[in-house]
């Protein structure tokens, strides 16, 4: 916003008019005694995006009015500026007798009486996009100062069927920020490329629009900045920084969970950016609706644009990622060895890279080429980790029982009421999907024979396509199981199978949980 063309409209008159209208409402609403006592000496200093900055004649006025009348003022402002997102108060610091006329406006002016989403800001940024180019050095310099990491660019991102949708959305957003998907929300287990895509969007936007202001932060950094600002009492500086970004990339937004004050601040930041059509991209390790104690209004905003899950990469993608890494790092590892690593290590990309580095090192130290047993030994502990965290029938039973609010023993028992029977069948179905166990092994976990399991799997499969509630239950339990396992450090066999399954399903439109298109949904570029 800061480099948008300066508007010379005499703003203070407009602000004066607006405040007069608001004053009239407030006087009616609060009574003239109250208004005269406290509010009569306030005036509108400026309007930043959609937030109105009121000047208070003294700090006590500011505190008292904010505590007691903030909502009343906001209600009244909204009558005149429908998308007004908040008021903040500043205190006259110089002589108390200074009149509003003495304050000259320096910030870019946004006409409060016109819908702020008019294309003044975005059209000017588009203009720049066409005309300007940037050399690589300058690009690197600007990217680094925005907090971007060099290796995380689109060129280095291996697109597989696990991440096709996500990377297409990321590219679309880089090309048309603020208009395509607002916000774009990535979620996945760790090490699957969320952060990489965030950085890549940053780099690409910078390349296309070198002057745009891009901020990449983790939610934790955002929180620390906020706390700092409170401590040093310069919230307005903090707000200027974040609310004037053209592209805000926030990683690990699940960190916002349970932090009310921070959520409130973030809510206003979000509104102010989205009202002025600035792009926001978020990444989280779980879907917005599952972030712990996240205010509903934030959840609904996160789900507003496009929410995409990154899945675990399949065999080919994993191999492609490793080959790319090998070439980047100039390692001497044959394709055969890479295929072997990919077969043995099924987890996230970080795990794969670790395995590759280890294999490369062992290969470099031994004279002859690595044999398969040697490779297995090298990777023993990584593969071992995966074994330990494997989900078994028992874990599935516990998760299902918890979901249906039953004791796990009942699933292993003989009770056959409708509810228990359904839970049992779901547990059998998920055991089949998520574990590597044979039908007989699964059946024995339930004290039944394998025919029962076959029947249960078939039954659930057929009901999945017709019953929405069953489908969402199964997805919820599956996700919980997959995430617990991912959270415990590694992922294994069943994971790729499970995510493969959910990927297939997520492309079916009725699986709306994974895919949320914005109202004016456009097709992906």
């Amino acid at each position: 916003m800061s480099d948008a063309p300066q508007d010379s409209t005499p703003s203070k008159n407009l602000h004066g008019d607006l405040w007069q209208k608001v004053s009239k409402d407030l006087r009616e609403e609060l009574g003239s005694a109250t208004f005269d006592l406290w509010l009569s000496k306030f005036w509108i200093k400026e309007i930043l995006h959609t937030e109105v900055v009121l000047m208070a004649p003294g700090s006590m006025y500011a505190i008292w009015v904010e505590e007691n009348f903030e909502n009343a003022i906001l209600d009244s402002l909204r009558k005149h500026i429908p998308n007004c997102s908040g008021v903040c108060f500043e205190v006259v610091s110089t002589t108390p007798n200074q009149s509003p006329a003495d304050f000259e406006k320096e910030e870019t002016f946004v006409d409060p009486l016109v819908d702020v989403s008019t294309p003044t800001a975005s059209s000017s940024s588009k203009k720049r996009a066409v005309h300007e180019t940037i050399d690589e050095d300058e690009l690197l310099k600007r990217g680094r100062s925005a907090g971007l990491v060099e290796i995380h660019r689109f060129e280095n991102f291996v697109v597989g069927d696990n991440s096709q949708l996500a990377s297409a959305a990321a590219k679309a957003v880089s090309e048309k920020p603020g208009s395509t998907y607002q916000p774009l929300f990535f979620h996945s287990a760790c090490g699957l490329g969320k952060t990489h895509l965030l950085h890549a969007i940053g780099w690409e936007s910078l390349r296309l629009r070198p002057k745009s202001k891009i901020i990449f932060v983790t939610a934790e950094k955002f929180a620390n900045d906020y706390i700092d600002a409170i401590q040093k009492n310069n919230l307005s500086k903090f707000r200027n920084k974040y609310r004037k970004a053209d592209l805000l990339l926030i990683d690990d937004v699940q960190f916002l969970g349970r932090k009310e004050g921070l959520q409130r601040e973030f809510f206003h930041t979000f509104n102010s950016l989205s009202d002025s059509r600035k792009q926001i991209v978020l990444a989280s390790d779980c879907p917005a609706s599952e972030i712990n104690e996240l205010e509903d209004r934030l959840v609904s905003r996160f789900q507003w644009g496009l929410s995409v899950e990154l899945h675990r990469p399949g065999f080919e993608t994993r191999a492609a990622i490793l080959r790319r890494k090998r070439d980047d790092w100039a390692m001497d590892v044959s394709d055969d060895l890479i295929n072997l690593i990919v077969e043995r290590v099924q987890g996230n990309v970080r795990l794969l890279e670790g395995a590759l580095i280890r294999v490369a090192m062992v290969a470099a130290m031994s004279d002859s080429t690595l044999t398969i047993p040697e490779l297995e030994e090298t990777l023993a502990d990584i593969a071992g980790n995966e074994e330990i965290s494997q989900v078994g029938v028992r874990e599935v039973q516990e998760a299902v029982a918890e979901h249906y609010d039953l004791e796990p023993e009942i699933l292993r028992g003989k009770k056959r009421t409708a509810r228990v029977a359904e839970a049992r069948q779901v547990a059998m179905y998920l055991s089949r999907e998520l574990t590597e166990l044979s039908l007989v092994e699964i059946a024995s976990g339930f004290g039944k024979d394998h025919g029962t399991v076959i029947y249960a799997v078939k039954k659930i499969k057929s009901r999945l396509s017709s019953s929405n509630s069953l489908r969402s239950s199964v997805e919820l339990i599956r996700r919980r199981l997959v995430r617990d396992r991912a959270g415990s450090g590694a992922a294994r066999q069943g994971a790729s199978r499970a995510s493969g399954a959910s990927l297939r399903k997520s492309t079916e439109p009725q699986f709306g949980d994974d895919l949320r298109f914005s109202s004016d949904s456009e097709t992906l570029a």
Partner: protein
């Protein structure tokens, strides 16, 4: 270091200093009490880096010395020991041996080196002498209105203003404001303002200002000391300027309600049980010589109570947060309180016959 001390005296002195010690301190030595023994007796000190308390107590010291011992353990042991006198012997390695009657305890202490130096007051300090009862009363009448919102840290304490023949204590959280303004001549005549943080205010009320008599108050620009007989509390002050609170005190009011404090407190307590859960408010309707106090919580229930008062103004209704009404009533002791009103939208002011006022904002309730 070696000394003998009467058990009850020791327990009392230790309990007085132990309150300051925070249960989760960052430095281990801050869980300890600093014990200095010399021929005058013992000096016990504790601190949490913001507030510290020092207490002198008589003891038979046979060998002078300095050590620090974990204060909570020490209090609970001493409290349980049998016998009138306890003798304590602290070795060079800071192991204390406590013996009384049949029991012997050994507890590990720490050297004094890690214990933070207590603040010294230089020549620029300003000294005042106040009446303990007066200061205690004034703190009690104001401290409940201290803001707990840490983003407004200047409000996290009681503002104490001295000068122009007045002592003024004030606390506010932006929704209500409590103030005691007392005529009081101070020799020296210099004006002074300080913000005393919540913790120090609580400690002063709890353990320092217990009796009649005087308290010596010393202020510098960033700390304050309160000294009563053998006890001294030192606290950092909140830095920053307290806002000009007089801006929010209504200068005039139109109607006065005179009401019994007890009856009003009890009625608000009862009706408040069904306060509207969304707005946390109850409604006061003032009519001739009556207040109707009503609450209505959708899906829960409603309550109403009538209270006889002295009032001859027009009928008006205001909604208040019941906790905000009860807080001053609980901390006053007068039989009668006055509620000054302007109109149905303006703040109410609770007053008594002594120098005190409490501004309370009505809540906006959709009618």
């Amino acid at each position: 270091m070696k000394f003998e001390i009467e058990k009850d005296v020791f327990v009392e002195a230790l309990s007085q200093v132990q309150n300051v010690v925070s249960s989760r301190s960052t430095l281990p030595v801050l869980s300890n009490v600093l014990i200095e023994a010399d021929d005058q007796g013992l000096t016990l000190s504790t601190t949490d880096m913001d507030v510290s308390i020092t207490r002198k107590v008589a003891a038979k010291v046979s060998e002078a010395g300095v050590t620090t011992l974990p204060v909570r353990k020490l209090v609970s042991i001493v409290r349980e020991m049998i016998g009138g006198d306890i003798s304590i012997d602290v070795s060079e390695e800071h192991t204390a041996t406590l013996s009384a009657g049949p029991s012997v305890f050994k507890i590990m202490g720490m050297p004094k080196d890690d214990f933070p130096e207590l603040a010294q007051f230089g020549d620029d300090a300003k000294e005042f002498t106040l009446d303990q009862v007066l200061l205690r009363g004034a703190l009690r009448k104001t401290s409940y209105a201290i803001s707990t919102d840490e983003t407004r840290y200047v409000l996290n304490g009681v503002n104490c203003l001295i000068g122009d023949g007045l002592l003024c204590l004030v606390a506010t959280d932006g929704r209500r404001l409590a103030m005691v303004e007392q005529d009081l001549e101070f020799p020296g005549g210099e004006n002074f303002s300080a913000i005393i943080p919540t913790k120090a205010v609580l400690e002063l009320q709890r353990g320092i200002l217990k009796d009649e008599g005087e308290v010596k108050v010393t202020f510098t620009s960033n700390q304050a000391a309160f000294e009563v007989a053998d006890t001294r509390l030192i606290s950092k002050l909140i830095e920053g300027n307290y806002p000009n609170f007089r801006q929010v005190i209504p200068q005039s009011s139109n109607h006065r309600v005179t009401v019994s404090r007890d009856l009003l407190l009890d009625a608000v307590k009862r009706v408040g049980l069904l306060a509207n859960e969304k707005t946390n408010s109850i409604k006061f309707t003032f009519r001739e010589n009556v207040i109707d106090i009503t609450s209505n919580s959708p899906d829960v229930g409603e309550a109403n109570e009538q209270l006889d008062v002295k009032y001859d103004g027009p009928e008006m209704s205001l909604a208040f947060n019941p906790d905000f009404v009860m807080a001053p009533l609980k901390n006053l002791h007068q039989d009668e309180v006055y509620i000054d009103l302007i109109d149905g939208n303006s703040p109410g002011v609770i007053k008594i016959d002594e120098p005190f006022l409490y501004v309370i904002m009505p809540m906006r309730v959709a009618s």
